[in-house]
Each structure stands twice: as structure tokens, then as C-alpha cells.
Amino acid sequence: MLYVSQIQGRQAWDAWSQPVGYCVDILVSSLEEPFPPIAALVVRTPEGQQDFIPASEISFLYPAIVLTVPLEQHVAYQPTGDELWLVDRILDRQIVDTDGRRVVRVNDLQLARVGTRYCLTGVDVGTLGLLRRLGIERLGRGIGKLLGKPVKTRVIPWEDVAPLQDEPLRLKVSRDRIVQLPPADIAAILSSLDQHTSEALLQSLSNAELADALEESPSDVQIAILTQMEPERAADVLEEMGPDEAADVLADLPDETSAQLLELMEDDDAAEVRSLLAYPEDSAGGIMTTEFAHAPIGLTAQELLDYLRHSEDAQEDEAMYYVYLVDADHRLRGVISLRDLVMAPPDVDLSPWITSDPVSVFPLTKQEDVAYLMAKYDLLAMPVVEPETEELLGIVTVDDALDAVLPTAWKKRLPRFF
């Protein structure tokens, strides 16, 4: 989860990693929305000037603030006067409920990336927020665990706060009826908000954005969100997801639900997912993707590149480290790296650059073995072939193979992007 305290006081960098200044405040606009978007960052430049970075120039906020443009192309945001200054006006202020009872102060503010923009999602009023501001969040959690009383996060959805009166901030609900947001990324926020709120948030996301968010989420969150949506919409979102990811989600859902969703999906996509569902989750077949670049063998570099530009599978390939070459029966005959393909002269026979007997695995090969082989042969993707027919079924990319080898705890420690 992203918090204002993690951004405030941080150095912002432009697209060429030149320092822009330190973030001193965050402006949000469109306050009528339940989760108003960030309009601009206020930074203090090295010359001591105040500068406004518009949201459109923000690439990401965490773990570092990075802009999409070099400093020379930066156009300062012009405040309209209707924005809310989060650090100046909201952070550390007293919150009272509808009856004027003091609830607590704003210990921190929760932000989330919704689609392409960052939004203000909640007000952290819990002890964990205090500890985070003190820079001892981890210590506090540890002590809480030792005492058998885990420190709880208490986040009130921004929707329930009315910053209209000057101060104190007033909640729209009584203290006893505060909905609380548990910690999580945007997908988890969706899963935990009440029906009405999450519907509003879901509407603002495109299928592709939602698919991206889901792919990054733990499976319990994926399930929570998909089951909350209209089945038609859920099927559309599943189509946008990679077939391997979609198959994983469907495998975790109750059989009836996944059967219903498969029915609703486009035939092509459903077929791919179905074939993947047949394999165990920890096998090469379970983690492979069927969307990858492949082409008939025997083309020149120029022809091959033209073929790929028009190939639907190639379009869908997330990474495309290699192009796999097959014969008329779709049997794997060779592989060429994209680098060699690009570097080769356009009109000559490609044979010298093609590895004609590539390493491959079977669908039932264990995930660990796939990872081991990829490490051994220094591969970024591993083809999966049918044992009898030698037909090329799909490929396992290095990130999916790595999932099996990296201990879970270690994975969690890697920085998370939203």
C-alpha cells in the first residue's frame, strides 16, 4: 500500500534521473469523486523554489518519485485553487464524527494507483500509521506479534470523510459505523470495500487495467474481486489476462463458477485456458503461456519479421526473447533469438543463426526442473512440447519459472509496484 508519508520529503527524479526537488505536498482535485485523483505534486527545487508537477508527468511514486519527462520538457501545473493540499490541510488534523466526537488525528493518507492515475483512497487513523510516521513500523509490528496482539491498520475510506468544513475534518458517518480499509494494493481495496463503493471504483477501471491489477494480486484477492463482478465482465477481464494467469485463477475458483466463466469467454481464449487447466499447477504445462512468437521455418530475416508483425500470437507475447520456428505440423524445429534476427542481413538464409535442436521440456515436467534447466542453459524462455507428436504447445518465461524457486518470503521483500 502506498502512503503519503512514504512520498513526503522524497527526492523526485526526471526521466533522465536528474533531481527535480523534494516533494513537500500533494494536491488532489475533483473532490466530488469518492476517490479523488492526485492533480499534482508540490516539490521544492534545489534553488528553493516551489514547483508543481502535474499528475500526467508522474511515471510512478514509489519506491521513488520518477517523472515521465526530462526536466526541460516539464510544464508546471497551474493550481486552480480548488485543490486540496494533503500535507498542509489534511495530514495531522483532528477528525470528528457526525456527533462531533473526536475519533483520532489523520496519522497518514493512503493512496492507490487506479488505472493510470493515483487516487486518494483512505485516511489512516490507526496505530500502524503512527508507527510508520515514526519510522518504526516494522519494529512495532514485531512487538505486536510478540505480545500476541498484532498492530491493526485502521483506514477510513476517503469517501466517508468530508473535508468541506475548514476544520476539524468531519466524518460522514458516526464513529461506531466506520468502514475500515484493510491494507492491500488496489485490488485488495476493491475486494474489501462495501458493494456500492467498489462498484464505483470498478466502473472507473478498464478491463485491461483490471486484468493487470489482478495479475499482480494474490489469489484470494483475485477470487474476491472476480466473484463480485457481473459474470460477463469477469469473463471479459479473464480474456485480457494472460492465459496462464487466467487458468491459475480459474483453477482456484469453484468448478461451477469456472465452468460458467469459460462458457462466457470468447472461444479462442477459452480453448487456450482449458488446455492449460488440464495440467497440474506446478508443472511446465501449468505455468506455460500459449501466447508466444512462432513462425514457419525457412523464412529469411525480412520475411520472418514481416510475418511476426502480422501474427496475433506474436502481438500477445509479453517479452518475446525468442522466435520459435515450426514446421507444417507445428513441430518445434529451431529457435532464433530476437537479437540475432534483428542483426542478421535481411535477405539471406537464416540457418547459421538458428539453434536447430533447442532444449525443450514436456508439459508434465516439474516446475523446479524447468527453472533448473533454464538456469543451466541460460535461457529466458523454455519451449514446452508434446512428448509423442513433438508439437509446440507453449513456452515458460523466466519470471514464471522463477516463482517456483524463490521462497515466498523472499518474493514479498522485493519492492512492489502498483
Binding site: D92, R93, Q94, R102, V104, R133
Partner: protein, 418 residues
């Protein structure tokens, strides 16, 4: 705001108004001569004669400067000091300031109960009876809300300290000496002298006094056009309190110092009143010290609980139920319980503890002063009532002086100068 129902003669109205504004200055100033105050002055007068009088003059100015700033902030903003600190400086600095306040106030509360122990043991009643009794009395009165009436009785008991003024005129000190020592500073480079000097500062300009003053002014809703009266209250209060303090030193110096008695117990301290009351001196001393102790013991834990809850936005106030304001009551009761338990440690040197608690108070004071000075100069907070530059010069000189004295103490202790 003012309802014009009754038409009072303007002179009477003015008087009533003055009485309604008057108060916080007088109470904080009377509290200068609480139990640790009397103990400190008695020890100072008996050990160093008149050589502490100039410090009294110095802290009188200091008290006026500091309390006036606090009162002004209360009147301009209508908020407490903890509130402003949190909103202006964020969580980390607030937490640090609150820890300092908790330590200082706990020490001072403990000193009040030590005062109860010392004064009642003078009458031959063991502290194991009187201290728990005093704690029950204070807790009961404050929690039952009947404190207001009792406060006046306690203030009346404090008038017993006036007997020092009378005694001073009976023993006829060398007024020339008194005047010389008041105006000409004496510095002795030994740790005991510095500790006592710090205690004299720390018992007059107190962290809790700042919070109490600002909260009272804010609660009364003093407007800026009424503010000159509040300022007069601060000045009159400070002058009054410190005149009495000065006379305690003069009396002990003229009686005990002259005959070589160095005060370490209540028995010895009470003898300073012998020229006035003869055999009844101990009763007079007990009345004064007991009244002051109970008064401060009622105010201090409450003021601390208010400040801490204000800083973190928790529900507070005696009109709340325990379930609604658990932290508020926990701090309040915790202060009383811890103080009682510590004072009941057998063989605890009560007078020494009282004085050292005030030295500690003074050492923590600069932290708070720096924050107060920054706040009172912030034009977004204070508008046109921010400090003038001469006020800043005086406030900064005071802060630097206290810090230097503290530093001198550590340097001297380090060098091993007795």
C-alpha cells in the same frame, strides 16, 4: 456572542470581566510555590544564602516571556499547544515533545506526592497512610467533578506560603545584601549550585505551565481585543509568584543559612518559620506545603493526559466515559499510581527527589521552547500577532541560557568537579 440581557454598570461589568479572564496566570504562578518549589527554594536559601535571588529575578522575566507567548497562541488560534505542535511539526517531533512532557510531568507529579509525604511526616503520620489517602482524595475529587470547589480551598491553603513574607520582615535581613544579590549575578562553578539553579528555573518556567496556560486561554475563548487583560494576568501572576519565591529564599537564608543548617528534610525547612510561629512552625509549613502539593497533584496528571490525547487526537475530558477515552484515563490514573508507588519506596530522600525533578524539568524545557518559538513566529498560525523581534531576542536568549546551564552541568560532572 455576548448576550445583552443584563445591563450592569460599566465599572462592575469591567470588574466581572477582569475576574473571568483572570485565573490561569495566577494559578500557574501560585504553582511556582508548590511542594518541589518550596523544597528547592528552601534548599537554595539554606545552602547559598542570598546568592540565588538574581536567578529569581531572571526567571521572572523568563516566565513572563514564555507564558505570554503561550497565552497569545491560545488566544489567536483557540487551540492547545499540543494541537499546534502536531499540525505544524508532524508525528516524529510531536512524539519527542510528548515523551519530554511525560517525563517532566511524571517527575513533577511524583514530587507533589513526595511533598505530601514530607509535610505529613513532619506531623508524625507515616507516608504509608497519607500518600495513598492523598491519591484517593485527588482521584476522587477530580473524577467526581467536585474539584472546582476544592480548588478554592487548596488555593487558600497555599496562602500559608505568605508566612515566609511575614517572617522575612520579623527576622530583619540585611536588605542591602538582599538588593545587591538580586541585581548582581553570582556564579559558582560546582554541580550542586548548577543543579539547584536548574531546579529554580524548572520549577518556575514549567513545560506543563505552558500547556496549561495555552489550554486555559483557548478554552475561555479569549479574543484578541480582550487579550491585554490576559497579558496583565500573566504578568501579575508571574510577579506575585516570584515575589513569594524570593521571600522563601530570603527567609531561609536569614534564618537557616546564617546558623549553618543545610536543608535536606522538612523538619529543617520548617524551622525557617520559627521566628514567626515558634513551636507551631511545623504546622504552618505543613499547611502550606500540603495545600500546594494537593493543588498541583490534581492539575498535573490531568493536564498531561489532556496534552497527550490532544497531540494524537484521542478522545479526552472528564465528561467522557472510560470506554470512550481509555488512553486519557490510563495516563491520568497511571501518573497517580506510579507517583505513589515511587514515593513509598522506603528511605527515599524526599527533598532531594523534589529538587531533582525540577532540575530535570528545566533540562527538558529547551525542547519545548524551540517549538513554541517556531510556532509563535509562524505567520500562517499567528497572522499579525507573531512575535516581534525583541520578543524573539528575549525568548532565544532564555532558551540558550537554559541550554548552556544544562551543558555546564554535564561538562562539570564529566570533569568531576564536585
Amino acid at each position: 456572542m455576548v448576550k445583552k440581557v443584563l445591563r450592569l454598570p460599566s465599572g462592575l461589568k469591567r470588574l466581572l470581566f477582569y475576574l473571568s479572564v483572570l485565573g490561569p496566570g495566577l494559578i500557574t504562578a501560585s504553582a511556582d510555590n508548590d511542594a518541589p518549589g518550596i523544597a528547592t527554594y528552601s534548599m537554595a536559601g539554606s545552602k547559598y544564602g542570598y546568592r540565588f535571588l538574581w536567578i529569581i529575578l531572571f526567571v521572572t522575566f523568563g516566565e513572563v516571556i514564555v507564558q505570554e507567548m503561550a497565552a497569545r497562541m491560545g488566544a489567536v488560534t483557540g487551540k492547545g499547544a499540543a494541537d499546534l505542535i502536531r499540525e505544524r511539526f508532524g508525528v516524529r517531533i510531536t512524539a519527542f515533545a510528548m515523551v519530554c512532557l511525560l517525563i517532566g510531568n511524571l517527575g513533577t507529579t511524583l514530587a507533589q506526592f513526595a511533598g505530601v509525604a514530607a509535610s505529613t511526616e513532619l506531623l508524625g503520620v507515616t507516608r504509608y497512610i497519607t500518600v495513598p489517602l492523598a491519591a484517593l482524595l485527588v482521584g476522587f475529587l477530580v473524577l467526581r467533578g467536585s474539584y472546582d470547589r476544592v480548588e478554592k480551598v487548596l488555593l487558600l491553603l497555599c496562602l500559608a506560603s505568605l508566612s515566609y513574607v511575614v517572617t522575612a520582615f520579623i527576622v530583619k535581613p540585611n536588605w542591602g545584601e538582599v538588593a545587591r544579590n538580586t541585581l548582581l549575578p553570582t556564579l559558582l562553578p560546582d554541580t550542586e549550585y548548577i543543579l539547584t539553579a536548574l531546579a529554580t528555573i524548572g520549577t518556575t518556567i514549567t513545560p506543563w505551565g505552558i500547556f496549561y496556560m495555552q489550554a486555559s486561554v483557548a478554552d475561555k475563548g479569549v479574543r484578541m481585543d480582550e487579550y491585554p487583560l490576559t497579558r496583565a494576568d500573566v504578568m501579575v501572576g508571574a510577579a506575585w509568584g516570584n515575589v513569594v519565591s524570593g521571600f522563601i529564599i530570603i527567609t531561609t537564608a536569614a534564618t537557616l543559612f546564617k546558623v549553618g543548617i543545610r536543608v535536606d528534610t522538612a523538619e529543617q525547612a520548617a524551622q525557617a518559620l520559627a521566628p514567626l510561629a515558634g513551636d507551631y512552625a511545623r504546622y504552618l509549613f505543613t499547611i502550606g506545603m500540603l495545600g500546594a502539593s494537593l493543588l498541583a497533584a490534581s492539575v498535573l496528571p490531568l493536564a498531561t493526559a489532556y496534552a497527550v490525547c490532544e497531540a494524537f487526537g484521542w478522545e479526552r475530558g472528564l465528561n467522557q466515559k472510560f470506554e470512550d477515552a481509555p488512553i486519557f484515563y490510563t495516563i491520568y490514573l497511571g501518573f497517580i499510581i506510579i507517583s505513589v508507588l515511587v514515593v513509598l519506596i522506603p528511605g527515599l530522600p524526599l527533598f532531594r527527589v523534589m529538587m531533582l525533578s525540577q532540575s530535570l524539568n528545566a533540562m527538558l524545557l529547551p525542547v519545548l521552547l524551540v517549538l513554541i518559538i517556531k510556532l509563535v513566529n509562524d505567520r500562517r498560525v499567528m497572522h499579525s500577532w507573531a512575535n516581534r523581534s525583541w520578543q524573539n531576542v528575549l525568548a532565544i536568549i532564555l532558551t540558550v541560557m537554559i541550554s548552556l546551564v544544562t551543558l555546564a552541568l554535564f561538562v562539570l560532572s564529566f570533569l568531576g568537579v564536585a
